[in-house]
């Protein structure tokens, strides 16, 4: 946990509760502080409220009770999001898709071009800027989606199980690349996942959640310093962290209130 020392809170969620239609309690008593520079994973079984928490942070839904506070003013470009599907617009080229956050703020393509090019370079797709999404593989589409989330250089990027539909080789590669991209941008990341391995490899904090009602069961620190490379996956340290997180997840699966 030493890696987190000295970080300032970016976002604080206190006693958040979210109930849908007055009956389904999706989140109960959620307390979470996200610090600037964190790579935080939300891990848990289906229905534990991971995605609901992400949507609350994104401002797409509002808590039934509790408080969600940002430190400092939150601008439109301060937040980027990547969904489970690449969610690209098939009628636009790769570069035009990445332009979207700027386009919606009234910036012309020419004005945004430099940022678009550097975002595509960051995800390794510079050569494909004029391609249409249908010409790309699943992994490449996801990279475009990540480039779009990063183009405004946001303070916080939310990823909602972005690699769940990809094959393992592509997923490993994107995991490595995601860490590099985060380091290059210096942003904060909240990553929702079902995968213990992915959460351990990527994050410095793993929040384990339980379902019915969705709540935080435990928080584990992964203190292996960055940069982490592929050999981290085969280290004893990784195995130990994976075991701890798996145990915590096992408790979460049993802890049905």
């Amino acid at each position: 946990m030493t890696a987190r020392h000295g970080r300032k809170p970016l976002l604080t969620m206190s006693r958040i509760e979210k109930t849908f239609r007055g009956e389904t309690v999706a989140l109960k008593d959620l307390n979470l502080t996200v610090n600037g520079g964190d790579f935080l994973s939300l891990l848990g079984p289906s229905g534990c409220g991971k995605s609901t928490a992400l949507r609350l942070i994104a401002g797409l839904i509002h808590p039934t009770s509790g408080r969600l506070e940002w430190s400092g003013e939150r601008g439109v470009g301060d937040l980027g999001i990547v969904f489970q599907e690449p969610t690209l617009m098939p009628w636009l080229t790769v570069a035009q898709n990445v332009w979207l956050p700027y386009r919606l703020r009234g910036r012309s393509f020419a004005e945004a071009q430099r940022d678009i090019e550097s975002a595509l370079e960051l995800v390794g797709l510079s050569e494909f800027s004029d391609a249409h999404p249908r010409e790309l593989s699943g992994g490449m589409k996801m990279r475009v989606s990540i480039a779009r989330a990063m183009v405004t250089r946001p303070r916080l990027i939310l990823l909602d199980e972005p690699f769940a539909a990809l094959d393992e080789i592509t997923r490993f590669k994107l995991n490595n690349d995601l860490l590099e991209m985060k380091a290059a941008l210096g942003c904060t990341v909240i990553f929702v996942t079902h995968s213990v391995f992915e959460s351990v490899f990527l994050s410095d904090r793993v929040i384990v959640m339980a379902a019915r009602p969705g709540r935080v069961i435990s928080e584990l620190g992964i203190d292996t310093p960055y940069p982490r490379h592929a050999d981290f996956r085969t280290s004893n340290e990784y195995a130990a962290h994976t075991r701890d997180v798996s145990n915590a997840l096992g408790e979460a699966m049993e802890a049905v209130a």
Binding site: R55, A58, G59, L60, V76, G77, L79, I81, F83, E85, T87, M89, P90, W91, L100, P101, R103, L104, R105, H132, P133, R134
Partner: protein, 283 residues
């Protein structure tokens, strides 16, 4: 397996068969329908001549062809009249249907209030409405136009409304996160998502506009609308001029095919870069 740089790529047996099949398909696409057409004309001709069918029961393809040439001075203006009516009705259906669809998706209240009436207008047979239009609308041309418009606008309205609502919900969320205005959401997300649906509606509406125009000419007649193809057809039947009747019928079909070809071409050109329906797949 990699090939040396200077080696020409070799086609295996399966690929050769596929290439040959593609070549045959390309040619057959045009030759087969033409052949069917030629054989049908021949059969028609033989049936009429060998059986001695009287021309007032079924004229042969030769007299019909002759009629198209000889009556061209009469048929061509009639074709222009019907085309004008059809195209104007289609244009109004496109603008009206698309505008109403946008209104429906922008306001739930508007949709709830007016959609049932759009359905009523659609399900009531236009043949039943046309005589009423003739009574209530002074100008016969406007009455005919309304008649064709009623039939053509619903597929545009219905398809475009569905299309405008079909945009990816995650993209909607993305637009919310980036603080998009209603106008931006419509222009950059809903409208492009609706385009394939709209174009599908356009292809249906093109054919229906022609049907509407023909029905209008039949029911409302030539007064004010000028002499269209359908009125020419009706008049020819009164005069037992069956050669001209068939000539008019064929020109109506050609007009229909032309409208379908144009709307299909528009659809193809607008979607060919990105939409599944317009893409050529390798395998």
């Amino acid at each position: 397996m990699t090939l040396p740089d200077d080696a020409a790529p070799t086609l295996d047996k399966e690929e050769e068969i596929r290439a040959r099949r593609d070549r045959i398909n390309r040619v057959a696409k045009w030759t087969l329908p033409s052949l069917v057409m030629a054989l049908s004309l021949l059969a028609w001709h033989l049936y009429v001549t060998l059986k001695g069918v009287p021309h007032y029961v079924l004229p042969g393809p030769v007299p019909v062809g002759k009629s198209i040439i000889e009556d061209w001075a009469l048929l061509w203006p009639a074709m222009l009249t019907t085309s004008r009516l059809t195209i104007l009705a289609l244009f109004l259906a496109v603008t009206g249907g698309a505008a109403l669809a946008v209104a429906f998706t922008q306001s739930r209240w508007a949709e709830m209030s007016f959609f049932p009436y759009a359905v009523i207008l659609q399900v009531t047979p236009v043949v039943a409405i046309a005589p009423l239009l003739q009574i209530y609308v002074d100008s016969a041309f406007v009455a005919a136009l309304l008649c064709a418009w009623i039939v053509a606008f619903f597929p545009i309205l219905s398809n475009t409304t569905t299309g405008l609502k079909s945009a990816d919900h995650n993209l909607h969320d993305l637009f919310t996160i980036y603080g998009a205005t209603r106008w931006q959401r419509l222009r950059y997300l809903a409208a492009p998502s609706a385009l394939p649906y709209f174009l599908g509606g356009l292809r249906i509406a093109g054919g229906l506009a022609l049907i509407g125009a023909v029905v209008a000419e039949f029911v409302i007649g030539r007064a004010g609308t000028g002499l269209g193809l359908a009125s020419t057809l009706l008049e020819a039947s009164y005069r037992f001029n069956f050669g001209r009747l068939y000539a008019a019928l064929i020109l109506i079909s050609i007009l229909g095919i032309g409208i379908f070809a144009i709307t299909s071409l528009i659809s193809h050109l607008m979607l060919r870069k990105w939409h599944e329906s317009a893409l050529n797949r390798e395998v």
